[in-house]
Amino acid sequence: MRILGIETSCDETSAAVVADGCVLSSAVSSQVDFHAVYGGVVPEVASRQHLKLIDAVVRQALTQGRVHPRELDAVAVTRGPGLPSALLVGVAMAKGLAARYGKPLAPVHHLEAHLYSSPIDSGAFVALVVSGGHTMLIHAPHIGGHRVLGSTVDDAAGEAFDKVAQMLGLPYPGGPVIELQAAQGNPRAFDFPRPMLHSGDWNFSFSGLKTAVRRTVGLLGGDKTARMADLCASFQLAVVEVLVEKTLAAAKKFRVRQIAVSGGVACNGSLRQALEKRCQREGMRLRFAEKKYCTDNAAMVALLAERKLSQGWLPPDDWDIQPDWRLESRSTEMSI
């Protein structure tokens, strides 16, 4: 099967062509520079940029994938969740392309695409999807059948990285710069809270941690700059510890031997190392999405659609964007 995927849910304009589980091309045009001046994503800016770039990005993916739209088996596009005016652009583009060439159009759930973007082996697994807008723990007895165990009750982990970076005067997006700073710092310098570590459920909370960092920054006053690396390292460790401990606890509770991690924050080297260490000790298999497929990309959208279509999924006919689409629990089994 040859599938073109399109993704415009937030601030990356992306298109990709996949065939039989392989990525033939992946074009991602990041808008980070346009949003950096505002310290975060401005929906109207994002939407205008998507519209400007979408045709060039799709053409690039088609050219690099050496495929004419005529030769596609389907077009897949992110339907939600995401920014409404940003989703609209990708969806209308996909609808036009599919209509012109008479191709099936597959609406894809952005978080489900993140969830399956790591190379998961068949069998049960626990997944941590940790991105700019979401932090979720998921249990899946088998691929395709998943149940959301818990998610953040306030800020997502990536959002916490972005907000802490902003309060430290560091550029957007915060994750990569905090990671860089943290590499030079002492992660035990400040004892930040580990929110909801022992909450007894599978939820997360990062806004209290953010407030604790703000308070410390306030107390440090002018010394903030000198302690930048320590602040970043201590904050990062607090996030990583909570993510690692809760993920491992879920894997143990549900007796699974496989953990899958994806989403933008899964780029974080410290999180990767901590999880690797713990999984090795516990004898668990750890599956990370490749770094280039952790942040938003259309390859994951096309791959998920391909998997589902090859299992006989019939996409709905009459549908629209769904900005607040929740990740539903599913019981259908998908094999790879």
Partner: protein, 220 residues
Amino acid sequence: MKTSRRWFAIESSSSQLSLALGEGETVLREVSESGNASRLIEPLYRRLGVRLEDVDFCVIGQGPGSYNGLRVGYAFLKGLLCADEMPVCEIPTPLALAAQAASQLKLSDGDFLALNDARREEIFGAKVELRGGALRQAETRVAPPSGLEQIFGRSFAAVISYELKVEDFPFLAGTPWLCLFPTASATGALACRQDFSRAPALSSLGPHYVRVAVPGRSSA
């Protein structure tokens, strides 16, 4: 450019989405529906039954109007043409509205004022001049209602607005007030009169946004 060329047009700047197919100034078919453009555009396209292989150029209503409606129209067209080099012509929506008004009032001369709600207590106004059957967009401006008279004057053949009411513009009392939604057929027919043989690339086209994306910034 020969006037007998076949075109396909999209007008998505108002709450009434319309798509049309024409040849020269003759409209062959038109379909329209009011509602959510994102949901309606694909079924309407199918209902129009156009074969783009038989079309010489495409036309898109540029707005101003609903930002999301415009985005849907442009993105859908970009999807249709993603593997084509077909010329695309953008028509400012006030021109299409004035053409519709002139035809309804059977006028070949006169000035029209098209008004849109620009939000934040401001109005988008466009003055369109009709001279010997030819239309020209003379002046466009975003201003508070109280400033419009000074900018545009008060003498018009008609005022056109699909969302505002005459009561809110006392200086226009007595001027014929038409409630017209822009149509793809008027948009397409106008494009035939234009020479766009050196049409810009599709990726360089875009809607007319009445404001910058972030107030206080001139970029993006």
